[in-house]
Symmetry: C2
Subunit: 105 residues, 2 copies
């Protein structure tokens, strides 16, 4: 079932990853799935909301900046980052943001 991320009371952090993929994205789906699986095991990981049509928008939620830094430096993730930069994305933008307020249902 499709669900939205469950997050605690702010403050916590969001990594906003927006990207445009090229057509021949060999290995992308497998690596993408693997990175999600791996991120979920990282300390400080809270949750994630993600969608892709042409533009992909993935927002992951983290306890603090240290958790984000640790995930960025994960060895397997670094290999995936290099593939992303060099092969899969024609453009991408990453924004680190401190969530101050949250509401919804």
């Amino acid at each position: 079932m499709t669900q939205l991320a469950e997050t605690p009371e702010p403050p916590y952090y969001a990594v906003i990853f927006a990207s445009i993929k090229i057509e021949e994205d060999q290995g992308y789906a497998e690596t993408s799935a693997r990175m999600i699986e791996l991120a979920k095991k990282q300390p400080g990981f809270i949750g994630m909301d993600s969608a892709r049509v042409d533009v992909g928008v993935t927002v992951s939620y983290w306890q603090d900046l240290a958790s984000i830094k640790q995930w960025k430096q994960n060895a397997e993730h670094q290999v995936a980052q290099a593939f992303g930069r060099e092969q899969w994305y024609s453009r991408y933008k990453i924004r680190i943001a401190k969530v101050e307020l949250e509401y919804g249902n």
Copy 2:
């Protein structure tokens, strides 16, 4: 052409809107398009990245909290918000976050 939002040097603000839509979303597409058109005319609006499959993730970027508040209170937008809450979204979550760092290509 599909493009990503162009944003200035941080700090600025992001509104992260994650939602799940119900099946019968009468009037949704028109109102959604109209709200995007209207948001672009608001003071402080910077840009937006958006995608929807099952989950929709829309991140809009704003100069400051005052701009976000003003947009939230826009009369036409308030009608759309009510439709969203009462008719279109089975779940939604809005997070207001201060962008501290940005990188990409």
